[in-house]
Symmetry: C2
Subunit: 694 residues, 2 copies
Amino acid sequence: MYPVTLDGTSVDCKREEIKDYFNNTFSLYEKVFEVLKNDDVFYEKSEITRHPMIFYFGHTATFFINKLINMKIINERINPDFESVFAVGVDEMSWDDMDGSNYSWPKVDAVREYRAKVKELVDELIMTLPLTLPIKDDSPMWIVLMGIEHERIHIETSLVLHRQMPIDLVKTVDAFNICPNSSSTPKNSMINISACEIRLGKESSHNLYGWDNEYGSYIESIAAFKASKYLVSNGEFMKFVEAGGYENSEFWDEEGREFLKLTKVTYPTFWVLKDGVFKYRTLSSEINMPLNWPVDVNALEAEAFCRYKSKEDGVKYQLPSEAEYRAIYNEAGLQDIPAFHESRANLNFYHYASSSPVDEFSFNGIYDVVGNVWQWSRTPIRGFEGFKVHEAYDDFSTPTFDEKHALILGSSWASSGNLIMKYSRYAFRKHFYQHAGFRYVVSNQEQEKETDLYESDELVSQYCEFQYGDTYFGVENFAIATARIASKFATNKTKALDLGCATGRATYELAKTFDKVEGIDFSVRFVQVGAKLKSDGYVAFSSKEEGELLINKKVTIEDLGYESLKEKVSFWQGDACNLKLNFNSYDLVMATNLIDRLYNPRLFLDSVEERLNADGVLVITSPYTWQESSTKKEFWLGGYRDENGVEVKTIDSLKAILGEKFELIHLQDLEFVIKETARKYQHTISEVSVWRKR
Amino acid sequence: MYPVTLDGTSVDCKREEIKDYFNNTFSLYEKVFEVLKNDDVFYEKSEITRHPMIFYFGHTATFFINKLINMKIINERINPDFESVFAVGVDEMSWDDMDGSNYSWPKVDAVREYRAKVKELVDELIMTLPLTLPIKDDSPMWIVLMGIEHERIHIETSLVLHRQMPIDLVKTVDAFNICPNSSSTPKNSMINISACEIRLGKESSHNLYGWDNEYGSYIESIAAFKASKYLVSNGEFMKFVEAGGYENSEFWDEEGREFLKLTKVTYPTFWVLKDGVFKYRTLSSEINMPLNWPVDVNALEAEAFCRYKSKEDGVKYQLPSEAEYRAIYNEAGLQDIPAFHESRANLNFYHYASSSPVDEFSFNGIYDVVGNVWQWSRTPIRGFEGFKVHEAYDDFSTPTFDEKHALILGSSWASSGNLIMKYSRYAFRKHFYQHAGFRYVVSNQEQEKETDLYESDELVSQYCEFQYGDTYFGVENFAIATARIASKFATNKTKALDLGCATGRATYELAKTFDKVEGIDFSVRFVQVGAKLKSDGYVAFSSKEEGELLINKKVTIEDLGYESLKEKVSFWQGDACNLKLNFNSYDLVMATNLIDRLYNPRLFLDSVEERLNADGVLVITSPYTWQESSTKKEFWLGGYRDENGVEVKTIDSLKAILGEKFELIHLQDLEFVIKETARKYQHTISEVSVWRKR
């Protein structure tokens, strides 16, 4: 099954196509979990940094609901608890919550039931949502497609996690058949790739769903170069292992040496050393080493091999860049699906649920240009010219634009959906394992220069300037002022929550008086700034001056005087309308410029009291700028007339909603200024209301 | 020929359809001008308040170019002079320029040549513009459709103007055939219309082009009522004339009496009194009075007739409301074209280029529900709930939302295109003539309450508050401050131009020191505020406080102290990048917050010196907030890096462009604050540069 095209002539037929594609995806994902031996295994982690499998089982269903709620396509949750506990935490990110002890995970059967309900809802939405063709990225149906492709990604990554599970916790599932062919190591050689101009990135009018990072354009001239005929096989990699490659630090860069130090690995992750002999781990079995199958490694191991081989041969080998890979793709005469049929490569589960020999699928004499295993590139993922985040998933790509996430190319046997398409772009940290290997190239292409470290996301930069930049019109820094007011009124100072923390400045400021402060924001794009200040010791951003002209600003943790505070703060992604249960026992909850940006502020206000200790204080600051794009009118707390024509103001609604459980102890105006350019500012008067729990 | 549908399955076929529709429209318009006896007649006006016909001949072609330029679909003008002189001035608006002596009109053949060039360009664009189906209102092709439908309107209104031309200046054109049938007055009677709920307004997904005022929704419950079977015929109206109806002021309201006083008319405009006998004027002939054809009158005459007939019969007759008309439409079982075939009514030039008997086209026993002549309603045009202006033509409807423009319904023999469609809505001042008559109703429907006089257009209101409202953060009123600075530096004080005058405050302020001040803005939505202050003596607007809550503010000309200044100011619609030639001989040109909103600021800067007298002063204020939505990046004056990577700042470009012809004599920052809500403001630092002509 291929991804659904966005265009077409019949809306009804398109709904049927989408429904089939959704059902196929949803049930294939459940099939993948049959690999786990029994329900107990759902509570096991295959790797220390990841969640137990039950999380992933629920997560892909919850994703549909959370995105549909956030985009205001539906108003009602199916299960608020599940949709909090299964909400985020896929990539290994320091601000995410991987400590399983914080959760009491639900029963597998309850999650199965939940998934069935989600399926029913999505099936119905597919048949009833407004739909015109072609489907554009602002269509509600785009969100359904997003949910489907998100689940396709998890089909692939769950198969990695299952393959990492102890062998006695998994079982063989007939649908996932292992390639029966293997033989000795084929001799690799180099193929000439012609010079060419490469244009990457797809048009917004492309007729398939795409993630934000795929759109835009990038052009690069590629000189002629050579690429290895085959992916590097287990047999070829074995020489590196036998030569003591893992022990020789000259083959590893700093990040690689750090990886070796932490993990102490001495051979590839899916090799199993039994009685002095290397066996090979498939999805659910251990087999004799298939020397002619591609080796599965992370990027650090692949780079180390290239350095080893360069020394052996006296020629500089490296991983291909993204553009060089496209040159190989063109040289091989490949076309995108469906012009290229799935049977011609090891992908889309057409042949195997495992790797296959590196000399089985040829394209014009170059093998496995797509399929078999992903191929690490040397290119860190970046947005193309014209990159824009999609508002429904604004942290899909941008947290990976950190020069530390390398692109993997070409898809694997476990890839389907968007993953097998020409224009898709996925990237991982270099120490991450996927069904991924590599081919090497000999090219004179210059190393791409590193993009600078300054935050260029316009909205994030604007907030960095707001929180860490200069003051204007004599108005005090708002994060400092709110933290001071909140500290003044808080009775106890053990733990505080900075909700809607944005780039995190007030979180640090609160840590001057509180023992522990948690900063939460809905968007990872924002929280990662505060987290980076903690981990890397600085905040760097580009502030707009005039038109496109920017000035770069950098503030260090020493400048800010926060060095001694950083162990007190932590940053988390979270939804204020559906916070995870472990966020509780606070002496202070500070909600800064938050309530008029929530999709349903009542959900937050009705539950905030439970998060507070006795004598706990709630501080709300807001200019009450209600807008339909953030909050449907039916959920506004003020700024409208009721059915009797009487004006409803937000402060009065706050008093009515909070009055029973809180006493209003302070009310004041507080200005803030957000710089848009050197000459244009938003100048706003927030209302600060301070409430003590009764 | 019917309007092109927006949906479809083949982009190529759609292009062909649009091209056919465009060519049909463009050539039909030229055919209409064949009614003028010879080229000399193109320089005649058919009515004192209108332009000579040459204007209208050029105008529909220029409209395409101006909209395409403004929407940045094309960059190059075909003929800047024509596109200035033929730009605006269709409705009779006090701020528009109807004084023919200001122009030296081009030769008719030159305009014919110009039209041919425009046709060639539009033909090419239709074949090459990016196009996906359905065509949405943000598609470049929408602008082409806008140009076509705009020309359809002028086909209808030009046929009114030609019919008003002296009979010896027009000739018979075969394509426009006059109905040969007429007879004695048919007896009118009343038909019962059932109670019903009426929903007006069309969906944004409707498959035909629409003007902004057609979209949104409006619901009204209609009680049962009666409507006249026929439109009022010349014969029926004759009784009113013979009864001295035009002389009896009790039948006329204040506006009607004013109309009679000014025009001194005593019978309908297309009646011709010859030797004591009424003849009837068709497009290009005078014929014996067709007693059974509908009378052509304006709304004031129609209302007077209703009052006369009410007195005669002792029953209250009135014009139908918009919703009542829809109830008649439904009762008659009508459907929109194409389900309803054009042959079934007198419209779309299918039968005649004239009216026809009122008892010829029946729909379920009600006659001429559509076609023959337009039918005046008693409903002033207003936007429906959800109304939004289209950015390419933001003054199509809003200037008519003044409670003074009444809707005409049902289309006429001269209607085609959008004009004959169910959802179209056109409105005119009540003294205006169209091919329009009326039918009367007896209904107990309450008079619609007048909407309040407060400007509700959000952007216009924001500017009213900015110019006439309160000050915030201690920042002085910007219009007053800029006018003071400009007056200080101007050497002579005879005539000033306030370019980008918005709602006109600085125009009045400059009149404190200048003998004469002209205020020009691109948008009629804005200039009508300054014009209204002059004509009606006040500015009234609604300022946003929180969410949707507003406060109404009203400032009178006395409050402002401008009573003695109002004869010195005048307001005009104009394009700073292509100003009409008659705007010249200024001692001061003040361009306030303008240059970073022009589609090509160089065009303004390169020509402004010619508008100034010796020693003339140019004052530019701007925060240089360049944005692609206003100005394509290639036309920015600053805020980018040049090909050498050097930062280009706007002030440096201004010095380079203006330096040869001007001396920079003053430079300062000047703050301004625009209120968005009671708590949210734009706080901007404009740069004021003052330049004296060398």
